[in-house]
Each structure stands twice: as C-alpha cells, then as structure tokens.
Amino acid sequence: MSDYYETKDLRNFGKITDWNKELGEKFFDYYSTVFEEGHLSSREKSLIALAVAHVVKCPYCIDAYTKDGLQRGITKEEMMEAVHTGAAMEAGANLVHATQMMKKYKKLSH
C-alpha cells in the first residue's frame, strides 16, 4: 500500500487521457465547465468541492481544493465550515436510517 496516495501522483491526473483520449478529454471538458462561474460563483463551487472531497474521502481532492481555496482567498474558517457541512450531511444520511431501525424494531416487537 506504500505507493498509494502519493502527493505527486496528482500531477499525473491529466495523463489518464493517454490510455483513453476520448473519454478522458470528455471528462476534463465537463469538469472544467462545471467549475466555471455560473449561477454559483467559482468560489462557492470550490467550497462545495472541498466538502465533497471530505465526504468521498479523496486525499487528492482534499489537497487540490485546499490549495484552490487558498488561491481564492477563502479563509480557514470558511473551509472548516464547508467540511462540517459535508460531515453533517454524512451524519444526517446515516442517522436518518435510524427511522428504518425504529420502524423495524417496532414491527418486530410485541
């Protein structure tokens, strides 16, 4: 496992097109379009991406969107709030399943 998640691997992300140019380029086109200024600002999108990076537990994405946030002047307080938003959503998604547990518990109990 020692060669997993090496920071420098992120530099080679663009090279995924070497083994499938068409799909790789379609992905990168889509990706860059998504992050352009739109109804949401690029700054807002950067914070969403940071939160998602933590939810999907992607070390590369965490590195990339921490740096992206710094570049945009996003403060560490804003970044941490974004991460908590993602964490709260994860916790919520977990806890809302408790309704299933409660429902089943009641159904099975006499």
Binding site: T7, K8, R11, S42, R43, K67, L70, Q71, R72, G73, T75
Partner: protein, 350 residues
C-alpha cells in the same frame, strides 16, 4: 517569523549564485523544461525588449519589515542604500528617458535619507506616472514619517502598497505581527486626504501576493473580494488590486525548500506557463536600477545579481537606444511571470 534577513542569518539562499545553482538542478535536470527550452519551443528565445515604458529604481534594501516572502530579502539589518550621487545619475536619465512611468521601490524607499529630495527633483521632470511602492506601515513607524501622506499628495505620487489579505491573521503571518492594523490605519489616513477614493486622481493601488505555496487566482475576482471586505469591515477604499505571483527566489525559495513545497510549486508554475504572457512580460518594457546604480532586466534579476547583457551596465553609462538592443537574461524564476494570467509589478499581463 524571522526578524532578520537571510543575509544576516548567513543562510545559503541569501547568495544569488546558490539560488541559481539550485534552480538549475533537481527537477530541471530531467523532469521539467527549463525556461529557456520553453521559450525556444515558442520561438521567443532570446527574449528581447519592446519599447521601454517603466524605469524602476530600487532606493535600497533597508526596510522596517521582514516579510516572509520578500524577494529582496529586505529588513532593518540591510544597509544597502542608494547614495545622493547615484540618485543624481538617475535624475539625468529620468530627464531624457522615453519611459512614461517612474517606479521607486526598496526595501522601504522612504527610509533612504535622500528619499524626499529625490522625489521632489524627480517630480519636477513631469513624468506621466510616478509610483512609490510604500509598505504602508512606514507611515506609522516613526514620527518623521507621519507626514508622508501629505508629502505624497503634494507631488501627486501614485502609491502601490502590499496587502496580502483582508484578514489580520493572514496579513500578519506574512508581513509581521501588527502589520495589518498599522496598514489599516495608514490606509484610513490616505483615504482621508483623497488617496484611493472613487473618482480621485490620487491613485492608491494594492498588491496581493499569495501567503503560501500557491498561485494567485483571477485578479478581478480578488479585487472584488478585497473591495467588498475592506469597505464592509473598515470603510477603506482603493483603486486597483494587482495580483502578483511569488517568484521562487530569496526568502520565498528558502521557504519552499524548507516546507517541502518546492517541487510542487515549480510543477504548478511550469504547468501554468502561458505563451501569451511572454508577449507582455515585465522585463520587456522595464529597466531596473539597483541601489548601487547597476542595471537589470527586472527587480528579480537584480536580486539574483544578473546584470543586463550589455556593455553599458551602470546608470552612469546609460544609453537607452543601445541598452534596448539587448537580450534579456532569463532563468527558471521567470516561470513566475508567465504563469496563468502572467504577473508583473503592475499585476496581470494578459
């Protein structure tokens, strides 16, 4: 945060030749193209000047601050200061140059004992845009500097001042404890006499450079954010924000190496190389004069002791036509000026 310059601490990266040696080795031996190779690929080597527009004069390396990323390695312990005699040579050049902008920098240029005399004499020439790069805190540093805002106003000086962030924490981390609050007080005083106010002809621009191992983002977006925050939090106004990339030299290079960020940072710069930025890169329209009167393609080359490639290397030998017919000296640090939207002392260049 260090209170002394790299030079005073006798650090290896205080030496120009060691910096150049470092920038030549490692990843530039076999992984990344050198800046020369990159220019050759787009048929821009050797790089040559366009019309001279900006004469930038460094009045000395002494400064009241010791900022973490200072490419000059400036600080209170630096004693390199331009003499009145060299200033007189500069004035002769200012009187006949075709450049439309005079740009005084340092260190803190105001700490040169002949600063006010030089500004008064240079202002008489009537150059179109007369810039002083003031660190703001100098106005608060000592009683003798208190009237600088009025002095600047009297001579219609265009002020360009550093402000790395709109928060105290980030600004102080880069520029020293207490710098943010002093800068805010100085900006308020400048606003009070008209500097930076909407529609005012007293120009006050701010310089943003990233407080760490990352590149600046879109200059217009940063300007919008800075204006929003500084007006909302402090009712402070300024005109333009210049986003400047930290070049990998001097203290910033020392930091990149010590923090393990050097390779990633250079990869970022090389990946962000923008051929369009080469067209307007600062060294093509600027000449830099050092405290001791030597001529350089830019302030960064000055710090790396790379004098211009000309037989006339000193202000006393100045001949504009001859000097403009030269090749510009380049090295890996130049990637800092061609990354993304490009970077110069006047901000983005594309």
């Amino acid at each position: 945060m260090a209170k002394k310059s790299l030079k005073a601490r006798e650090k290896l990266m205080a030496k120009a030749d060691e910096q150049l040696k470092f920038l030549n080795n490692g990843i530039f031996e076999d992984e990344l193209p050198t800046f020369k190779e990159q220019l050759s690929d787009i048929n821009q080597f050797p790089l040559q000047p366009n019309k001279l527009e900006i004469l930038q004069i460094n009045l000395g390396y002494m400064c009241n601050q010791v900022c973490a990323h200072c490419h000059v390695d400036a600080g209170p312990d630096r004693k390199e200061i331009m003499t009145k005699s060299t200033m007189k040579s500069c004035l002769k050049v200012i009187q006949k140059t075709g450049a439309h902008t005079l740009d005084l920098t340092g260190g803190a240029p105001e700490m040169n004992p002949h600063f006010r005399w030089f500004v008064e004499e240079a202002a008489k020439v009537g150059i179109k845009d007369f810039i002083v790069r003031s660190n703001l805190t100098i106005i608060e540093a000592n009683k003798k500097y208190k009237d600088l805002p009025e002095f600047f106003k009297k001579h219609n000086v265009h002020l360009v001042s550093s402000m790395p962030h709109w928060t105290e924490e980030k600004t102080d981390h880069q520029r020293g404890k207490g710098v943010f609050n002093k800068s805010i007080r100085a900006l308020k005083r400048l606003n009070e006499i008209g500097y930076g106010m909407p529609n005012s002809t007293l120009k006050l621009d701010l310089v943003y450079n990233p407080s760490g191992a990352f590149l600046p983002t879109n200059q217009e977006v940063m300007q919008r954010d800075f204006k929003e925050k500084l007006i909302a939090n402090f009712d402070i106004h300024f005109h333009q924000l210049f986003a400047i990339t930290n070049l990998p030299i001097s203290r910033f290079l020392d930091y990149l190496i010590a923090s393990g960020n050097y390779e990633d940072y250079m990869y970022n710069l090389v990946e962000a190389f923008n051929p369009a930025a080469v067209t307007n890169v600062m060294c093509r329209n600027t000449l830099s004069v050092s405290w001791d009167g030597f001529l350089y393609d830019c302030d960064f080359n000055q710090m790396l002791e790379m004098k211009i490639d000309s037989n006339r290397k000193h202000i006393t030998e100045y001949n504009e036509a001859e000097i403009q017919n030269r090749n510009i000296k380049i090295h890996q640090h130049c990637y800092g000026c061609t990354a993304g939207a490009g970077s110069s002392c006047q901000g983005n260049i594309t």
